[in-house]
């Protein structure tokens, strides 16, 4: 009887062999810039995590006052702008490719969940700024959240709770989901282009 470590290893090797997890070539149809948006989103996420770690280490009195603090505060802001910018372009590209074809429904849905979880992650970031902007957003947002009935356990006016969500719980969820999304992409492969119909002039004879 094999141990649980062996079972997990055998499951991993069976579902995602190393040559599929880290391939040395990709299909020819991937030589298009539209396939870069996913990687650009991951790049922005890495910058977000690094700049956010530095901001968490130094604290609000640093990012609001010191020049270097302003710099990393701005890097964090523009990284999240680019994160959503590229993620939306990635979403558009995959939507028009109908990327859920060929048994890729889980790949598509995991991407959707990533997007949905990233939104409150950014929202709690705006609440964690520690300035008038965050106070304004918190007081406006609480009414909407209370109308949904979630204000009792997700309170934008509770800075400690929002900061915990922003620096730990939601980034952990986003990174986990993105990691799962990438593994599913590796498992099922990049979706091929939609085949041209019979009689289409662009279709090779």
């Amino acid at each position: 009887m094999s141990s649980w470590t062996v079972k997990i290893r055998e499951f991993g090797m069976r579902t995602l062999p190393p040559e599929q997890l880290l391939p040395d070539s990709q299909p020819a149809y991937m030589t298009s810039a539209v396939y870069l948006f996913g990687a650009l989103t991951i790049g922005a996420l890495v910058v977000l995590l690094l700049s956010g770690t530095i901001l968490a280490l130094k604290g609000p009195s640093w990012w609001h006052v010191q020049s270097l603090g302003h710099f990393f505060n701005s890097v964090h802001l523009w990284a999240v702008e680019l994160f959503f910018f590229f993620m939306v372009c990635h979403l558009w590209g995959k939507y028009w490719m109908a990327a859920w074809r060929g048994g890729r429904a889980r790949v598509w849905m995991s991407g959707v969940v990533c997007f949905l979880v990233a939104i409150p992650c950014a929202f709690t970031g705006y609440l964690s700024q520690q300035n008038f902007d965050s106070q304004w957003i918190a007081t406006q947002g609480k009414d909407g959240l209370n109308s949904l009935g979630v204000g009792a356990f997700f309170n934008p006016l509770n800075f400690g709770q929002m900061y915990s969500y922003h620096v730990f719980l939601l980034p952990l969820a986003v990174v986990t989901l993105v990691g799962g999304h990438i593994l599913l992409v590796r498992r099922h492969g990049i979706v091929p282009p939609i085949p041209l119909s019979e009689g289409d002039p662009a279709r090779p004879a």
């Binding site: 298009s32 372009c89 590209g93």
Partner: protein, 68 residues
């Protein structure tokens, strides 16, 4: 925040935004539709970048040969 010695003020101004961010934001308001110009610019940029990514060949990509 422009405080401190004049040289500090000049340096901060030279590194400022391309547009004056101290004014009230501009909005496009048509009936039920209301959105800041800044957000519209971002959406427009996303559309432009997406259109370029779809239409332009990727660097290093070879043109496919079609039978004549």
């Amino acid at each position: 925040m422009a405080t401190g010695a004049p040289s500090t003020v000049r340096r901060q101004e030279s590194m400022g935004a391309l547009v004056n961010l101290n004014n009230s934001p501009y909005y496009v308001h048509l009936d039920f539709f209301r959105m800041s110009v800044a957000n519209l610019v971002v959406i427009g940029l996303m559309l432009v970048v997406f259109a370029l990514a779809v239409s332009l060949r990727a660097p290093g990509a070879k043109r496919s040969r079609r039978p004549k």
